[in-house]
Symmetry: C2
Subunit: 142 residues, 2 copies
């Protein structure tokens, strides 16, 4: 199995609402209004929004609701950019689940939840350099 | 907010067990045995394994256990490769949550759950061409 993820699908309750939230964050999709799944290009992969019930059934898992132990992160190039993106998220209607501040691992970050409760950390990690297209490459050796 | 994901963190109960599972799938990490978070390069982003309790606290969300409406997908270049990767997952100790077969959207896929129940779909989508490095690029216009 190659070491990569092609797609992260977030199960949502109201597709139009979820789509609107990501669009308010400045994301663009070519999905048509009637599509029942919304794909966003996200770097070299895809973020999809789909009905949560359908996603659970399709994944062959039971869903009792709530958080499932998965957090997405969006790394940026400076602490100031963390502040800016967190403000964008707040304006787009996110719940701020952790206000920005210095972290125990030596970075600076905050966290928000999208309208379906999916958490995102917005982080500046001084030890990770982002490539011009935003890709993160870990050092080949520690 | 740029249209990309830097990191997907999976909350796990037993870090050594989770790490071993992804290593059995053929993934490589430079994490040291004593590290409390395990990072895997995954294309232009990173997959992290971290204690689920710590992840929930750090994300500022409540965790009542179970699935949380997030499924990862690994797209491959042919139906035969779906079969092969699903067999690798089975051998690595995954639970098969959906056996391989043709899908309602015209592709071929199966799904498995890792030892912490995080579901992955392994899919061939004849409408998506993978780049040589495995990246997925949606058509700029529908």
């Amino acid at each position: 199995m190659e070491q990569r993820i092609s797609l992260v699908t977030l199960g949502v309750e109201d597709l139009a609402r979820a789509r609107r939230f990501y669009e308010r964050l400045g994301w663009h999709t070519n999905a048509r209004p009637e599509d029942d799944v919304v794909f966003f290009q996200a770097g070299g992969m895809v973020l999809a929004l789909w009905g949560r019930e359908q996603l659970a059934a399709d994944s062959g898992v039971e869903d009792r609701g709530g958080f499932g132990g998965v957090t997405l992160a969006h790394n940026v190039r400076s602490p100031a950019e963390v502040d800016r993106v967190m403000e964008e998220a707040r304006s787009a209607g996110a719940s701020i689940t952790r206000e920005v501040g210095e972290t125990f691992w030596g970075g600076y970050s905050g966290a928000f939840a999208d309208p379906d409760g999916h958490p995102w950390e917005v982080a500046h990690n001084p030890r990770w350099t982002l490539e011009p297209d935003g890709a993160v490459r870990l050092a080949p050796n520690p």
